[in-house]
Amino acid sequence: MSDATDDAGTDDIGCLEALEAFYAYLDGELDNPESIANFEHHMSHCRSCFSRAEMERALTAHIQKSSKSRAPDALRSRLRDLIDKF
């Protein structure tokens, strides 16, 4: 894990803090600009965290690709019948 110091005027949050912000950032839930800047700065010089982020992005893409399911025709027909009753 990285213990590099900041050289661009951004706080170096360190790997521990980056870990806690990690998934929120990847999910677009980190909305504080300063937190985003600090996280991205950490990522720019920490190979370990960067690799994990790349892994997570790839994993999320695989999950999205694998999880899409089309409802069976029988279910579609069943729901149409159901709604017709109302």
């Binding site: 399911s69 159901l82 709604i83």
Partner: protein
Amino acid sequence: MDPLYGVALRLTRNSADAEDLVAEAVAKAWAAIDALEDRARFRPWLFRILHNYFLSDYRKKSVRPTEEHLEEVFVDEGEGDVYSLLNDQPDEFLKWWANPEKALLNNLLGEKIMSAIDGLPAAFRTAILLVNVEGLTYDEAAEALGVPSGTVRSRMKRGRTMLQKALWEQARDAGLTVSDNMDGSEI
């Protein structure tokens, strides 16, 4: 309908049960649509009906219940941070986790990934599906699951760490990981 069925399928892990679950949830939603004041909240509201039905009536009626299925719904998730969670993991996994090989995923079939997702406790599996697959925000997922937003955040962290570990174990069992190789050039 497809997103509802997709989540139902991952919850029930059975297509027949998933169809029943979606049909019941849609019937309940259709009957209660007038109670939805903010139509912009339709998606989380609908997912919440689906999830609630899964947790209650559906489990009682299911012809295919399993002890694992029942227990996992009430998993003790706590609010532990990722660092604490990692303290309990084996060294080999931590070594890989500190510098994962992205190529590992490309060597695992989609069915292996789905198997790993299906192996997660329902609370984590559902949060991951709602956020990462259906694109709900943490607040919307919290509304759908009837939990605070912080709980969704916690479930996302823990669930995905568990998922990575499950995938790593599958890759290790298949001889796809080289734990001493830290440059990511080979798996």
